[in-house]
Amino acid sequence: MNLKKTGILYGKDLNDFMKNPGISVAALIPVLFVVLYRSIGLADAMGDYASYFLLNIGTVMSIAMVALLLVSTSVAEEKEKFTLRTLMMSNVRASEFLLSKILVTLTVLLICNTLIFILSGSALSALPFYLLCCILGSASLIMFSACIGIMARDQMSTSIYQIPIMLLVMLPAMLSEFNSFIGTLASLTPIAAMMNLFGNFQAGQLASAASLQALAVMLVWIAVPSLLFAWLYRRKGIDN
């Protein structure tokens, strides 16, 4: 892999993300949601719970949308507009192409989640660990997104694959507070697992069975799409 080429692709992809309102606005929605909650006074009515609620819901939305959306939509667009073929003919490897997309997704995700963290009013000392949890929690969805990028023929068809996975990981995590069964179900999703891990850290219970379980859930979720990606890539290649 040529890191210089990956860097050039990363610059192009980041620039393209900012010029593409369809994607960049979607990435900002969770941040805007937290801003809205704060500005209309709903968070004040919640008292101490507001910080936890806003961080939880903002993070869930951000990871589910950004991690799942960016790589798949971007790969599908490159296929649809034949720029992927031009890149392959310009001696770019599939690994360099995909790594650039993943790095852009992580960059956007970390910026958005830092904003959400600050706006939620959480203690800044926990920010580094929170961002580490975000990387772990989003890795599986980024890999799913890469799989969707390989499978989808164009941008339109990415949503067929994106929406079920988005609902699967987002809804239980968002509704886990309202029902114990949904709460149990949610603990098996990567985003809820990462929030549980972060919650244990804040409660000073990082070295616990619950933290290990959360970590295991995230690792399994990373392994499944990684294996799927390896299989799909061998079968279809990147520019199928």
Binding site: I8, K19, F82, R85, D239
Partner: protein, 280 residues
């Protein structure tokens, strides 16, 4: 290296049938090779095989003097490919596209600027690609392909959809590249283009090469056996290229009635129709 491309009995089968059926030809270094044929004949498929976007079912392919299986990533630095779809970044300007691909190819930005000027795109370099006409996009794509000065260039219908002035400009550029020693593999529907640019042409039909040679060779090979004579009285007489025909010409000349004598050579399109019975 004298031989840039060689195909021997190459076959490729899709679900719908044979895309290429025992295709054999070779292209020498510095040649402009025109690959002619109707839509669906297998022209683009051949380019995809030669650029490793597809894999053959059987036969041998040699590229840059070595079996295609041994052609490496570094070898592809000597190759440029212009496909029938111009894969440019639409949200970027013309200049940004050139700069991006120049950096990827490790080529100086001055080279990109030089190409923009040669393509007549310098004044509109700040225009986003999504606002460019088809002709402009094609010229930008060509500039991208030429950035790293490839030794072997694959051009899939490079002048399709361009206006006559731009076509002339592209032809001038390709002839300059030929002068510089670039080998060009060109697919086209445009027979005049093939006649003007190509040292050698191959006519492909249903995945098979039906004939090949220089445009002049083909015209002579498939020339009609007839001569048209115009007399002083305006009459047009057609005679065969034989002793009787020669006698008739002599007779008219002696009588002072001979105005013009033209042999009938078919153009490349007529040759194709003659060989395949299909239209371009």
């Amino acid at each position: 290296m004298s031989e840039m491309i060689r195909l021997e009995q190459v076959c490729l089968r899709f679900k719908t049938g044979f895309a290429l059926d025992g295709l054999s030809f070779q292209v020498e270094a510095g040649q402009v090779f025109g690959f002619l044929g109707p839509s669906g004949a297998g022209k683009t498929t051949t380019i995809k095989l030669l650029t490793k976007q597809l894999q053959k079912d059987s036969g041998q392919i040699h590229l840059l003097g070595k079996p295609i299986e041994e052609v490496s990533r570094d070898d592809f630095e000597k190759i440029g490919v212009l496909t029938d779809t111009n894969g440019l970044y639409e949200r970027m300007s013309i200049e940004e596209n050139l700069r991006f691909f120049a950096r990827l190819r490790n080529v100086s930005l001055a080279r990109g600027e030089e190409l923009l000027k040669r393509m007549g795109l310098y004044e509109s370099r700040k225009t986003p690609v999504k606002k460019c006409s088809k002709g402009m996009r094609q010229r930008v794509s060509l500039a991208v392909v030429l950035l790293h000065e490839p030794k072997l260039l694959f051009l899939d219908e490079p002048t399709s959809g361009l206006d006559p002035a731009t076509i002339q400009e592209v032809h001038r550029l390709l002839l300059e590249m030929k002068e510089e020693g670039t080998t060009i593999f060109l697919t086209t529907h445009n027979m005049e283009e093939a006649d003007k640019l190509c040292d050698c042409v191959g006519i492909l039909d249903q995945g098979r090469l039906v004939t090949s040679g220089s445009p002049l060779e083909l015209k002579l090979r498939y020339a009609h056996d007839r001569i048209n004579i115009r007399t002083a009285g305006g009459e047009v007489i057609t005679v065969n290229k034989d002793a009787a025909g020669a006698e008739k010409i002599l007779e008219l000349a002696r009588a002072g009635q001979l105005m013009t004598v033209h042999s009938e050579e078919p153009n490349l399109e007529e040759i194709f129709l003659m060989l395949t019975g299909r239209k371009f």
